[in-house]
Symmetry: C2
Subunit: 94 residues, 2 copies
Amino acid sequence: MTKQTETIEAQVKIFKALADPTRLEIIRYLNQLDHEVSCGEVDRAMHIGKTSGSYHFKILQAAGLITARKEAREKYVALDQSTFDRYLTHFWQN
Amino acid sequence: MTKQTETIEAQVKIFKALADPTRLEIIRYLNQLDHEVSCGEVDRAMHIGKTSGSYHFKILQAAGLITARKEAREKYVALDQSTFDRYLTHFWQN
DNA sequence: AATATAGTTCAAATATCTTTGAACTATATA
DNA sequence: TATATAGTTCAAAGATATTTGAACTATATT
């Protein structure tokens, strides 16, 4: 696979992950908090069920937009700013 | 509708428009040319049919990512850099 | 040990997106 | 005028994405 094709596939994954109102709201929420929070806390703040939350977190994580850390029962998520920088701020450099 | 909701809807539209490999390739193509071209020329360069091209141009235009100008039989498209600046480069300011 | 909590997985239902050919409008050319 | 070209619209088919409840795993608490 060529380098340009790899880049396009990665970009598509990022943009698909951002192309949903629930996920954009999660991202805004994580950004304004600026520290990691549990999935449950996000679910409650977004007024979504845990099943739906789990689905969205998986997509955000696969795109590299959030980091996740599991501690005992809970999973803590936070923004991965470097991905935003690379794919949004520096869009034309890819 | 609140301002934040408006912003999110606009962002969703932009990101959906970018969340497709054909449309990303169109955008790269328009960017490297850096001048307007006819839809037909883009269709041929992307190896897509005119029906499919028309569909993608409509989505890109509705998102504000391209400008379009009709001259006689032909429609000329070009990137609208200001939208990329506003929604990608300055993502966190929205 | 029994129960509660945090999160995941699965499958079914629904909604949304993309491709395609055929028919169409409008303009250009022989 | 007849024909060709550029692009749009429509509808049908197929592909993807999202929501939901039920069942599940793993950890915490009584």
